[in-house]
Symmetry: C2
Subunit: 149 residues, 2 copies
DNA sequence: GCCGATAATTAGCCTGACCTAATTTTCTTT
DNA sequence: AAAGAAAATTAGGTCAGGCTAATTATCGGC
């Protein structure tokens, strides 16, 4: 039997790859460019690892890479980066809305964000929006939550 | 700068380890014992890989392993296995409740379940229960969901 | 009780994603 | 414009968690 161990989203992205694209996307969004040193910092990994991965991303057509010059997202890369950032944002709003401690929110979001399909994202977005608008419901749920602990 | 790349849940479980313990837990729950061949089947990996991992789980004190005899969970192992099964169950109920297609639910749940803290699990459980009881709300949300697509 | 079928294990590999150390290029300051 | 600092790259590892092929153990039917 061939390897299998399902790759989930067709093929375009191990968690690692998405982490890089998300950071590159965020950095470009915030500063207009993405330096290796900043990506490394944000992901808490070495610059060498970032260089390696960027080369890989280039061969996969997700970024354009030129030695010692910066890195730019291709249209494909931009899509992936933007998508993961959107999932990050929704998850964060949902969990933070319940008052979970920020560190926990961050860790859980980082872990979960790579595994959310378009359909699930829609459900979670819907839920998040409903809770943000329906303050009565939110209050009620928070009360129940407090009791559980 | 030191390695870091956070390990998230203190240390007791890479995603892989949790997958194994979940399967072992489920098999014991269902059939009273867990054979290597079944674990391999359920995880879609080779028997050899299962044997390797079981040995590792034994040295880490999560299962008791004896060559050619079955594998049994220790108390620690049982806890981890049960916890991950619980997360699996809640996530599945939540997503399936919205009518997402079963394959998607399964894939997303498999991906997300390893990254959910106790606190987040409580939030999701609460949400799931609320939606299961409050059929009006559920109907309303499903209607909105249908519109989005 | 023996034998073939099934299950489990071992041995030896491979790949992805990380690391450190050493090197090269670029930037900044004087 | 040259030197020192900072950033980027290369070279060469490590480790986890998969794999196949070969071997050994256990089990079920005759």
């Amino acid at each position: 039997m061939p390897p299998k161990r399902q790759e989930h989203t067709s093929h375009l992205g191990s968690p690692a790859i998405e982490d890089y694209l998300e950071q590159i996307h965020n950095l470009i969004d915030a500063k207009g460019y993405a330096r290796v040193v900043d990506i490394a910092q944000n992901l808490s990994i070495s610059q060498a690892s970032v260089t390696n991965m960027i080369q890989k991303l280039d061969t996969e057509g997700l970024v354009v890479y030129e030695r010692y010059r910066g890195v730019v997202l291709t249209e494909d890369g931009r899509k992936v980066g933007a998508a993961i950032a959107r999932r990050h944002e929704v998850l964060t709003r949902l969990l933070a809305g319940f008052g979970l401690d920020p560190k926990t929110v961050h860790e859980d979001v980082e872990g979960m964000e790579h595994h959310i399909s378009r359909q699930t994202l829609e459900v979670l977005t819907l839920l998040t929006e409903e809770l943000e608008n329906n303050t009565d419901l939110m209050r009620k749920l928070k009360r129940k939550l407090a009791q559980r602990s």
